[in-house]
């Protein structure tokens, strides 16, 4: 018979998993120049935080954390819609999605 996760897996391990995923997302943002990949890495970071929320919710028996995850997903959907529309617009003007071309706002 299988049991609940909080009897078996220590919470530290799930937190570590979330941290690793978050840092992979950070690394992607730092290493890549394709703006679409950067947006995807931001999604990955949001998901890492979602795991953390769901974990604390499950280990403390409080549903609020899961509602928060739900809202984060909602915000992510809206963010992706607008972000990708912006990217398409940038591509139309510069014929590229390279973020290093977009440094004209730098002083």
């Amino acid at each position: 018979m299988l049991m609940q996760i909080n009897h078996i897996v220590p919470i530290e391990h799930i937190i570590t998993l979330s941290c690793i995923l978050f840092c992979i997302g950070v690394m992607g943002v730092l290493l890549r120049r394709n703006a679409i990949i950067i947006l995807m890495c931001i999604e990955l970071m949001l998901n890492a935080v979602n795991i953390l929320f769901a974990t604390f919710s499950a280990y403390n028996g409080n549903p609020d954390g899961q509602i928060f995850v739900f809202f984060i997903m909602v915000v992510a959907a809206a963010e992706v819609a607008v972000g990708l529309a912006l990217l398409v617009l940038i591509y139309r003007n510069t014929r590229s999605v390279d973020v290093s071309l977009l440094d004209r706002l730098k002083w």
């Binding site: 995923l21 992979i24 690394m27 890495c41 795991i51 997903m73 915000v75 959907a77 992706v80 529309a85």
Partner: protein
């Protein structure tokens, strides 16, 4: 059951690394979908059944399809991405690695409440719906305003005739 968790975790990390290091953007998107699937599996293990479904519907089903659409639309499936210099890449990797070290070190020292919850039905749609419509009604309405803004914004940016 812990083996299922560790397998899923390993798979998620592996696919996430592939997302970052894969040269072809289309492969990156596909690996990110796999990552989201394994994260959905972790939600099941955490008794968050509704989140599992929403993760599959919203992330794997809608958001990633949108990413694929944009890649196809801009025709970026070839490896045309200019690379950053080696110095910058090592600096980025070192920065992310030390960030991970700091995060893990900080979380090691925190006091976590380890009281085990016997409630296993908090992740069901019914329970979550009750919380959502009593405690979180205002954020729920604000979310709709956010969507209104997103809709207007994306249509405004996406329509060609305005420019």
């Amino acid at each position: 059951m812990q083996y299922i968790f560790y397998t899923l975790a390993f798979f998620a990390i592996l696919c996430a690394l592939f997302v970052v290091f894969e040269k072809n953007p289309v492969h990156s998107v596909l690996y990110l979908i796999l990552t989201f699937f394994s994260i959905a599996g972790i939600y099941v293990l955490l008794n968050a059944q509704f989140l599992f479904i929403v993760q599959l519907i919203v992330y794997s089903g809608a958001i990633m399809v949108l990413f694929l659409f944009v890649l196809m639309l801009l025709n970026l499936n070839k490896d045309t991405e200019p690379q950053k210099s080696v110095i910058f890449k090592t600096a980025g990797a070192i920065a992310a690695g030390s960030f991970l070290l700091v995060l893990v070190a900080v979380l090691k020292d925190t006091q976590q409440s380890t009281e085990l919850s016997a409630m296993t039905d908090i992740g069901l749609v019914k329970q979550l719906g009750k919380t959502l419509f009593t405690k979180f009604v205002v954020p729920f309405e604000v979310a709709s305003i956010l969507f209104l803004a997103a809709m207007v914004g994306s249509v405004l940016l996406g329509k060609k005739e305005l420019y």
